[in-house]
């Protein structure tokens, strides 16, 4: 991997939650890189740790959760590198980074926007804070960016409140907010899951347009393999807090290596294909009851071997820019993290 190109690099990140019922290793030793201008997908089912990964990168993990170990290296345009994992979540440095350099688009625009401020005020707040603009300048900036994300007559809609917007428009407003300070990295956590398909298509298209206009790096977090195929350049597949496979998007769909990835692909119905689905047996396990140092997918895996229940597989290099965490590839080169 050419690390020089990476604008963001996550190394061996662990985010754990200490709950009354025990320790939840929500994100467990994951590593991933994001290059300038590309879209990296993180795909997985509920509870796999994909949202906690996003929150960790934003340094927004709240107790009882905590980033326990690892690095989140952000390399800004001027060449300086910051380890987000080392910053205090409420510290000055983190606050100047968050929203300004790295921004986030949340799943539920209704809960992520506050109902008591107008859309314009919510966008202007961040701009005034980060870009040191006056109220009037910030308002102009907000109108401009709302227009850019396709809100018709933004100079009128800017004073509307979130409830006056439709679901798709709210998501556009949230994208506008995320882009208002011209960040370099945008993390989108299930940005279209709450939307209808025709609106989803609009939002995905908008994100692509914004990306090419602003040379954005996007981390696309979703459970939907269709959205991944549509958007991502590279994909990380997550299962129970770990990345189990990483590859170019085309390889994930045409040359999947991990049994879980294969299982996911065989589980989804495709339009025009009536063949019986081949689901993965069982269900996602409870993170609380997992033993350490085994393959967590083994109980559901059709290829499970003895070793899978005894030791955790390392990440193997299984092809060009293609890694897979599975004992089936023992003998391949082990990827150092």
């Amino acid at each position: 991997m050419k690390e020089v190109d990476d604008i963001l690099q996550v190394r061996n990140l662990r985010t754990y939650f200490r709950t009354d019922n025990g320790l939840v290793r929500a994100v467990d030793r994951i590593s991933l890189g994001v290059r300038r201008g590309e879209t990296v997908g993180i795909v997985g089912e509920s509870g796999c740790g994909k949202s906690v990964t996003a929150l960790s990168i934003m340094n927004l993990v709240r107790p009882p959760g905590r980033i326990v170990a690892g690095q989140i290296l952000y390399r800004s345009g001027d060449g300086s590198t910051t380890d987000i994992a080392k910053l205090h979540p409420n510290g000055r440095q983190m606050r100047s980074l968050r929203g300004n350099n790295i921004a986030m688009i949340f799943q539920e625009p209704m809960t992520a926007l506050t109902p008591v401020y107008s859309i314009g005020d919510q966008i202007a707040e961040g701009v005034m804070l980060h870009k040191k603009l006056t109220r009037r300048q910030a308002r102009e900036r907000a109108i401009e960016i709302l227009g850019k994300v396709g809100i018709p007559s933004p100079e009128k809609r800017i004073d509307d409140y979130p409830h006056q917007f439709s679901g798709g428009m709210r998501q556009r407003a949230m994208i506008a907010m995320a882009l208002s300070c011209e960040p370099e990295v945008v993390i989108a956590d299930e940005p279209t899951t709450a939307l209808d398909v025709t609106i989803e298509a609009q939002i995905l298209r908008l994100m692509k347009e914004m990306q090419s206009q602003l040379d954005l790096s996007i981390i696309m977090i979703t459970h939907d393999l269709g959205v991944i195929a549509e958007m991502a350049d590279r994909v990380n597949v997550m299962y129970t807090g770990k990345i189990v496979e990483h590859a170019q998007t085309d390889d994930i769909f045409y040359n999947p290596k991990h049994p879980y990835t294969l299982g996911l692909l065989q589980s989804i119905p495709t339009i025009g294909d009536k063949r019986r689905l081949t689901p993965i047996r069982g269900a996602v396990p409870n993170l609380l009851t997992l033993p350490e140092d085994v393959c967590y997918f083994a109980p559901r895996c059709p290829y499970a071997m003895e070793i899978c229940a005894q030791a955790e597989p390392p990440m193997y290099q299984v092809g060009t820019a293609h890694q897979c965490k599975c004992w089936l590839y023992e003998g391949n080169e082990v990827v150092a993290v």
Binding site: E45, D196, V197, I199, S267, P269, T270, L277, P279, A283
Partner: protein, 343 residues
């Protein structure tokens, strides 16, 4: 061709918008607006549409969980007699409801957390006074096995199960009375992908084993297309197209159907295309546009679409194919044809 099991004619459900001190209706939300269709014995009719298109309201009217404003719902019972569901009194309705059951969307809120699995699945049996406690326990055990759970699960409570297992419990409850028609309202949309496939396969197996008829409602076109024999597309309270799922996929006839097909992200990076998504959003159902309700977003619309409302009609030369579009027989929907040819 097999016989009809259910026929809906001119179904309407209007919800009043009440305003002011006297709570007088200031207008109506036309949630279901003059919908007609039928379901054949043993088939799966998929119902697809975006949120607010009236699919759930329509299903609830069919089950008479809510009373329709207008229209008739006919059901043919085991003896082949036609029964008008919305004219039945309480006692008659209760009898007929044994044949028509529902599986709900959210397996977390549709099961009472204070009831054991036995209580949940045997409730329909108790309501209809079928068997004593022992016979009911036997039946519950049988149903649990049928949906892929174990007999001992009947002593547990819903919180002890995963989402997929809960949905299986919901299905077992729906099957307790040996129904003929099962309405599945978004039965897999709350489930993870890997578990969703298990439940879809289960529903298909049960249909084969028990000769069930399904009305399968979902917003996910790929799921509906996969499980259904015929698919009905709804938009703003109206049916815009009904066709066999193959025909719908290969040659959509209504512009909205095409738009839906084009919008679904396909899990295949080599079939990515530069698509032009449908513009705008679904109009306000309390104030739908005149003429064809889709004309505001339709790329093919002409003058007639703005002034007169198209009727759902069987296409000439294509039996079993119903489209509500002025231009159904003349326009070629180019976008989807192009995409298909790339696949």
């Amino acid at each position: 061709m097999t016989s009809k099991l259910l026929e809906i004619c001119g179904l309407k459900k209007y919800f009043p918008i009440r305003r002011g001190l006297l709570r007088r209706p200031a207008g109506y939300i036309r949630a279901v607006d003059d919908v007609s269709f039928f379901v054949r014995q043993g088939e799966t009719l998929g119902v697809v549409g975006e949120s607010g298109c009236g699919k759930t309201t329509m299903a609830r009217c069919v089950l008479r969980l809510i009373e329709p404003t207008e229209g008739s719902i006919s059901y043919w019972n085991r003896a082949g007699e036609q029964i008008i569901l919305n004219r039945l009194n309480r006692q008659e309705l209760k009898e007929t409801r044994r044949d028509i059951q529902i599986v709900f969307q959210d397996p977390f809120s549709s099961l009472d957390p204070r009831m054991s699995v036995f209580d949940i699945i045997s409730e329909p049996l108790r309501l209809h006074r079928i068997g004593d406690h022992r016979a009911q326990a036997e039946r519950v055990a049988e149903l649990l096995e049928l949906v892929g759970l174990k007999a001992y699960h009947m002593d547990l409570y819903p919180h002890e199960f995963s989402g997929g297992q809960r949905q299986r419990i919901g299905i077992a409850r729906a099957l307790a009375l040996n129904p003929r028609l099962v309405v599945c309202d978004e039965p897999v949309s709350a489930l993870d992908v890997s578990v969703q496939a298990q439940v879809i396969n289960l529903l298909r197996d049960l249909q084969e084993q028990m000769g069930l008829t399904y009305m399968f409602i979902a917003h996910d076109l790929s799921v509906v297309e996969h499980i259904s024999d015929r698919v009905m597309v709804m938009y703003l309270g109206k049916v815009v197209e009904i066709a066999s799922s193959e025909a719908l996929y290969l040659t959509p006839k209504h512009p909205y159907t095409e738009a839906l097909l084009m919008a679904v992200p396909i899990p295949d990076p080599r079939r990515k295309i530069k698509r032009l998504p449908l513009e705008g959003a679904v109009p306000d159902p309390s104030n739908p546009p005149g003429g064809c309700s889709f004309h505001t977003r339709c790329p093919y619309s002409t003058k007639v679409c703005r002034t007169s409302e198209p009727v759902l009609m069987e296409l000439e030369g294509e039996p079993d194919r119903f489209v509500a579009c002025h231009h159904a027989s003349e326009i070629t929907l180019t976008g989807w044809a192009e995409r298909l040819s790339r696949g």
